[in-house]
Subunit: 248 residues, 2 copies
DNA sequence: CGAAAGCTTGACACCGATCAAGTCAGGTGG
DNA sequence: CCACCTGACTTGATCGGTGTCAAGCTTTCG
């Protein structure tokens, strides 16, 4: 009776899987599809590749949004800061995701790399010009924004209603799904985020994340390979936990 | 040094103050501004006024998004449901706000009235037609969506990092600001939401909301007038609490 | 006036934060 | 190649904030 779309990954925040190329050499899919060769050429020429070290900021909250970025390689996280200095991670981003697009003049949140990363950046005014010539592009970004909104709303639910265990399980499942959408196979996933990063995203302390992962390990739900790789050994149970079915 | 935009109301979720008329007779501001008289006329004719009782659903999560609504009178709340039945309020809406717009085919969340309410509803396909003729409208909705996203992200921060007291204070301040943007004057505000509604929005139980309001009352920050009206007697302190400055 | 719904308050339990040691892994320099 | 050093992680003990359960009270409305 409850009208749900169970297929949408809950508590996503793990990338909008836009499948957008933004003219980074490859004209593949998504955003660029409606563009003709000339426009694509223009765009590719206006585009600039940048390499970043781990933990390097791409842009900060409040800065003028002069560029739009596509993450082509590596992992990044988005953070939002409060007046009193507290901050939270609001999402993670993976290759193919767009970063820093906003209709406003300033970035509403900051982005920084977790790993070494490569981004492809385009001047905002070039994008605006493209919008004018291809209004359909704007629709694309609207869809992207709406999907993002739905994911953020799910995250609100998770933070408001989930226990630490449920949040951690949901995080692991989301992470796995995000990587699988990008072609990853097998049960072992790299986290790239520290326990502190994960805690900041889930509204928990790093100790609680660590304890919860340990509990999962003892129950045979996961195995840890070094510090930054997880193997999901009992994905069923994790999914059950993540959707609040309490079992294990 | 921290780049913040303190002016944006945090934890908004209390209406996107779109200032949009959607042709409900009045052609006032916002959305309709770029429209010529003919288009406005078309739209007004396609529009339908609906009256709703308190606690009546406007649409449910998962239903086909056949219409877009403007709330012209009353208060509504938006809720998102999880597979296991848990649900959370993700926002409240006030007169002037748009409800139920999504680029997708189905509603990502449900909406229901809290009070008696009037909405003005427009068929989705009419809106799409309007988009085609006036691409600038799409930009308008993109901005709306982005603002919504920023508000939801702030709510994520609030749920992840705020204590019960801070959340309640932030809620009261946001409520007051939302009503003031709509012309309300004076320190007394009507809630229209029960303690349970507020708790569902803030990720708290109704008992905790009640206790916190009582504590505010005892500290002289608020006065309660009946069950559904609050007077903010020490707004300064509430603002301080809401921004995490811990004082009272 | 009576009933129902909503609110308040209390007692208690429990989850997760905090504080505090340790341990482990990975990188650097000897 | 090993020793060390540092940052990240784990684990334990304790505390406090919220949830839960349970009365009772107040407001609202028929």
């Amino acid at each position: 009776m409850t009208p749900l779309d169970d297929t949408r990954s809950r508590m996503d925040g793990l990338g909008s899987e836009a499948g957008i190329c933004m003219a980074c050499g490859s004209r593949s899919v998504g955003l660029c599809a409606p563009l003709d060769a000339t426009a694509l050429g223009d765009m590719a020429r206006a585009t600039e590749r940048i390499h970043l070290a781990p933990r390097e900021p791409l842009f900060r909250q409040g800065e003028p949004a002069t560029h739009v970025y596509t993450l082509t390689d590596g992992t990044a996280r988005l953070t939002r800061v409060l007046a009193d200095g507290r901050q939270a991670a609001i999402g993670f981003r993976f290759p193919g995701d767009i970063l820093g697009f906003t209709p406003g003049a300033e970035h509403a949140f900051g982005a920084e790399t977790l790993t070494e990363a490569t981004v492809c950046r385009l001047e905002r005014k070039r994008l605006d010009a493209l919008f004018r010539r291809h209004p359909v592009l704007e629709r694309r970004f609207l869809e992207l924004c709406a999907r993002e909104l739905a994911a953020t709303q799910d995250h609100v639910l998770a933070l408001g209603r989930f226990t630490a265990e449920e949040r951690c399980a949901a995080f692991l499942i989301s992470l796995a799904e995000a990587q699988e959408r990008r072609g990853h196979t097998g049960p072992v996933f790299r986290l790239h985020a520290t326990r502190a990063d994960i805690g900041e995203f889930l509204g928990l302390t790093l100790e609680t994340v660590s304890r919860t992962f340990s509990a999962f390990r003892k129950r045979g739900l996961i195995r840890l390979h070094g510090q930054s790789a997880v193997e999901l050994t009992d994905r069923e149970s994790l999914v059950a936990l993540a959707s609040g079915e309490g079992g294990a």
